[in-house]
């Protein structure tokens, strides 16, 4: 039986965290209202909210969000599919891994952002380059985690499977694949965060749409409230997507001992 907990004990995390955020915003707003903050350097909560509503009314905000969101969805989906497929192949076939290893290591060690100008030369400033940048930033985290997951077969389990006459294919399907699922989901979670960086950076380098563009434009025109709206949207998207990925991770590791 769980011991009885008070309302506060049950929601301690939410209450303390929420209070801290509320106090921060209140102090910020108070300073802003008192005119202690220059709108050139830092906006205030009410101004940001106003800008947000204005953007929604004008419809530009939604179309920017749709543009970025579509790019992200396509780029990220491509990264997941190709990262998992290639990762499984490289994890399972040693020779293939040895062939690809130097390229993987070189690309993994290079900040993907350094490739952005090259990618724009290849794909232009339109959606193509945005999608590819998101793809390439998210891809490696998924690939490398998948490879590690497939290779990470427990020796005791392998011995047991062999003793029961398992074929290589059976070892692949019953040990390597299911064992790699938590690794793949970790890769997906890391890929979300990295892909969002790719999304913002890609839009800053060219084009005239999207949340990243909005942030860059806000910065160039000293419209700090617009800038903040963009940053907050990206922040909330990140929180939401990471939360979803974590839930997915937990859903597929029900069998793990509870911590």
């Amino acid at each position: 039986m769980k011991p009885k907990q008070s309302f506060y004990e049950r929601h301690e995390e939410l209450i303390l965290g929420g209070a801290a955020v509320a106090v921060t915003i209140a102090v910020w707003q108070a300073l802003w209202s008192a005119g202690k903050i220059s709108p050139l350097f830092l906006s205030g909560p009410s101004a940001i909210a106003k800008q947000f509503v204005y953007g929604l009314r004008r419809g530009t905000l939604l179309s920017d969000m749709a543009y970025s969101g579509t790019n992200f969805a396509i780029g990220f989906a491509l990264a997941v599919v190709s990262g998992v497929v290639l990762g499984v192949i490289l994890g399972w076939y040693r020779r293939a891994r040895l062939v690809f290893d130097p390229f993987m290591n070189a690309l993994y060690a290079t900040p993907r952002i350094a490739m952005v100008p090259m990618i724009i030369i290849w794909f232009g400033v339109g959606m193509g380059s945005k999608i590819f940048i998101i793809f390439i930033t998210a891809f490696f985290a998924i690939l490398i985690n998948t490879v590690a997951g497939v290779r990470n077969i427990d020796r005791d389990l392998l011995r047991a499977a062999r003793a029961y006459c398992a074929s290589d294919w059976q070892i692949f399907t019953t040990l390597a694949l299911p064992g790699s699922v938590p690794f793949i989901l970790t890769g997906v979670r890391q890929g979300v965060a990295l892909g969002l960086i790719g999304m913002v950076v890609g839009e800053m380098f060219g084009g005239s749409q999207g949340i990243g563009f909005m942030v860059a434009y806000g910065g160039q025109t000293f419209a700090t409230d617009t800038l903040f709206v963009g940053v907050l949207i990206v922040a909330f998207s990140g929180i939401l997507l990471t939360w979803l990925a974590e839930r997915l991770e937990r859903r597929f590791s029900r069998w793990k001992p509870e911590r």
Partner: protein
């Protein structure tokens, strides 16, 4: 009737660090008849687990032969199943999924038969009601029951057990020994049971083979004179302790020799 025959088997290991070969098993012979419970005891490092791995077909060997029902074994086979020291259960599969696993890999039974056997053997090892639990939710003793059920469900001709209770605490171990005898009385398999505990070997087995260490040799085989079923308090009876003492002395000689060699070095 002869079930399992190990005939003059020798095994050498390559010692990477010393750059030379060392014998692990020398000229080991052993025969187990149909339905017999045979135990092998020996000090750690006597190569008893190597011997079991050879019989399981998991380890190659240089000389001699291992045969079951007169046929020489070639690698792992459906005529053997192993209960490992570490339960080696798939953590992402439920208990039922794990019990089915061995049968699944061996592809011997139809789906419906597999389901039936899974249910039957889960019941037999006393885990009814735990079918849908995951291994991490079970105690060490319960996990070893699953390990045993998986092996029995695969319907092997010979059941190989590699110190299956060594990792359990003393009380659970005693209890599991008694449970194993009950299950064995129903399943009636030929069993080869490896252990380093002399009283475990005597309590469980019809015969106890004693191995010497480094390199592993067969030293002697003792007939266990006690009838079945055996109660746990048999272990405290004088004639049990006498047999235990006799086997212990045989191993102790060995241990002394070994110790002498170590000190001489």
């Amino acid at each position: 009737m002869l079930k399992l025959e190990v005939d003059h088997v020798s095994k050498r290991y390559w010692l990477e660090r010393e750059g030379r070969e060392a014998p692990a098993l020398i000229d080991v012979s052993l025969s187990v008849s149909d339905g017999e419970f045979m135990a092998i005891v020996g000090p750690s490092g006597c190569g008893k687990t190597s011997l079991l791995n050879i019989i399981a077909g998991l380890l190659p060997y240089e000389e001699g032969s291992v045969s079951i029902d007169g046929r020489k074994i070639q690698g792992p086979g459906i005529d053997r199943a192993v209960v490992f020291q570490h339960s080696s259960l798939l953590p992402w599969r439920t208990i039922a999924g794990n019990v089915r696993y061995g049968m699944e890999l061996q592809r011997r039974f139809e789906k419906a038969v597999m389901a039936e056997r899974t249910e039957y053997f889960i019941q037999l090892v006393g885990l009814a009601g735990f079918e849908r639990h995951f291994p991490s939710e079970l105690s060490g003793g319960m996990q070893q029951r699953v390990n045993l059920a998986r092996a029995l469900a695969a319907d092997p001709a010979v059941l190989l057990m590699d110190e299956p209770f060594a990792a359990l605490d003393a009380q659970t171990r005693e209890f599991m020994q008694a449970e194993l005898l009950k299950i064995w009385a129903k399943a009636r398999k030929t069993v080869l049971f490896i252990t380093h505990q002399i009283n475990e070997a005597i309590y469980l087995a019809d015969r106890v083979a004693v191995m010497s260490s480094r390199p592993g040799r067969m030293k002697d085989v003792f007939q266990v004179p006690f009838g079945r079923p055996r109660a746990l308090h048999l272990k405290r009876e004088p004639r049990f302790l006498e047999l235990e003492d006799a086997i212990w002395q045989l191993i102790e000689e060995e241990a002394k020799d070994m110790h002498a060699v170590v000190t001489a070095d």
